[in-house]
């Protein structure tokens, strides 16, 4: 399982990469693996407000629908439009294929580092 050490994670299997005042958000390798073949993702729009620990997108896989929770609060500044055309990119590489970029005001207090996140994943297996 791939868990990059430069990212922070939610126990619900989302990652966040902080770059100055902006944060990119995606789902982890564990998440894409558990979801199976991803078919659609419903994305928010640029300008939408998102709230830490609340759902900001739905992912539909062949198996089931799942919510994606946000690691930060703030305003969406970009969405990854490649995912709109081919949500299966999340299976191919969930770290290159971020979902949204947020101008953030706060981080979730549930975020953990890679080592802690790996423990969470091992417990869920």
């Amino acid at each position: 399982m791939n868990i990059p050490s430069n990212l922070k994670y939610l126990p619900t299997h989302e990652w966040v990469l902080v770059e100055g005042s902006k944060a990119k958000v995606g789902i982890s390798d564990f998440a894409q693996h558990a979801l199976g073949d991803v078919v659609y993702i419903s994305l928010p729009e640029v300008g939408d407000e998102v709230t830490a620990d609340e759902s900001f997108a739905d992912i539909e896989s062949v198996k089931a629908a799942s919510e994606v929770f946000c690691p930060v609060s703030g305003t969406v500044t970009a969405i990854n439009e490649d995912l709109d055309a081919d949500a299966g990119l999340l299976n191919q590489d969930p770290y290159t294929n971020w979902i949204i970029e947020v101008e953030f005001s706060a981080l979730s207090d549930k975020l953990v580092d890679a080592a802690q996140y790996e423990k969470i994943c091992n417990e869920e297996k």
């Binding site: 693996h33 199976g36 078919v39 659609y40 089931a64």
Partner: protein, 357 residues
């Protein structure tokens, strides 16, 4: 419960889930539902379906008694033929759907859904009158389904007579010195075979098929692909399209209900019930997937519910089987977790069936 192949699935990284009281792989980690689905549509895949139930019925009154229990006509069924039928209750609802294998005069193998084994056996036993020997052999039998356009190439290396079988026929043979039934049947909409062997030989058969099927690229497939394949083929699944309280004449299976064959359990209720609902297919026009239980609307009026819904791997769109009021025309909407998606009616099955061998 576990099938004899449980350890084999775990060793092959099958993702185990509970289904019909059995622990079975929903998919294998190295492939996944989509790849397994495509293997069956384009080449060949194999499924552990040992969870299915098998009953034997024989005796001087077996034909007439079985014909009284089921909705389809088994009088006149030739030896070696397989027949799909419903098992109805007195209210005209559906106890199960099943396959009837005619082995000889007054001798049948009956194959039922895993979750319904005990229910069906008790139901049938309590409705049998006399002159019939009836036995539940589910625990003694393992079953592997080999499905896809290249299934014949794999199967005929192990069973050279497979070529003689037409769709919905079977033969009885031996495997490793034990009883074996080979039928040209399946639950995928493709050509294929279902192989029944004695439970302690099913692991051997599995390994042999993996080895024998290498040239065709055979892969093990899980319940996920089994569901997406049957769904595209427009085949009903008990507990979804079929239930105890859904009238048998509202599910698009009237070909398996022979009202003119004489009395059978449920016949009177069916005759007295004017179908108000029907089973149809819809295609979603937005990027959403309707799942079981999603309400279907026309305008503000709810006209039914989704019974099975998924993304069609073959067609690349989201489809659903729905139970809706009869006679609805025009576009409809489906509620997916609070959001409405437009949808249109499309024909069932969603794919053209290939299994006309």
């Amino acid at each position: 419960m576990r099938t004899p192949l449980y350890d084999t699935h775990v060793a092959s990284n099958g993702r185990i889930v509970e289904f019909g009281g059995f622990e079975l792989p929903v998919q294998y980690e190295s492939t996944g539902i989509k790849a397994e689905h495509i293997a069956v549509r384009e080449s060949v895949g194999m499924f552990d379906v040992s969870h299915m139930g098998e009953f034997l019925m024989s005796g001087p009154n077996a034909e007439s008694e079985l014909n009284y229990l089921v909705s389809n006509q088994i009088v006149g069924l030739p030896n070696g033929k397989v027949l799909y039928s419903l098992l109805c209750n007195e209210s005209g609802g559906i106890v199960d759907d099943l396959l009837i294998y005619k082995r000889a005069e007054n001798s049948y193998l009956i194959v039922v859904n895993a979750a319904n084994i005990d229910k069906d056996f008790e139901w049938m036993k309590s409705h049998l009158r006399s002159g019939v020997k009836f036995e539940n052999i589910s625990q003694k039998i393992g079953q592997i389904a080999v499905q896809g356009p290249k299934a014949i190439d794999v199967i005929k290396r192990l069973f050279p007579d497979a070529d003689t079988l037409h769709n919905y026929t079977f033969l009885e043979t031996e495997f490793k010195g034990g009883w074996c039934v080979l039928s040209r049947t399946g639950y995928t909409g493709e050509d294929g075979f279902e192989v029944y062997v004695e439970a302690d030989k099913v692991v051997d058969l599995w390994k042999l098929l993996i080895e024998t099927g290498k040239p065709e690229g055979i892969i093990p497939c899980g319940l996920g692909a089994r569901d997406t394949l049957r769904f595209e083929a427009g085949m009903p699944l008990y507990g979804h399209e079929l239930r105890d309280n859904i009238p048998a004449n509202e599910v698009g299976l009237n070909f398996a209900i022979k009202m003119d064959k004489g009395d059978f359990v449920g016949r009177e209720a069916i005759a007295n019930h004017t179908a108000a609902f029907c089973r149809r297919g819809i295609k979603l026009l937005g990027k959403g997937i309707a799942r079981e239980g999603s309400p279907v609307y026309q305008g503000t009026r709810q006209i039914g519910l989704v019974s099975s819904g998924n993304f069609s791997v073959t067609n690349g769109v989201a489809l659903a089987m729905v139970r809706v009021m009869k006679g609805i025309e025009g576009n409809v909407e489906v509620d997916v977790r609070g959001k409405r998606f437009p949808a249109e009616f499309v024909k069932l099955p969603f794919i053209a069936k290939q299994n006309n061998k």
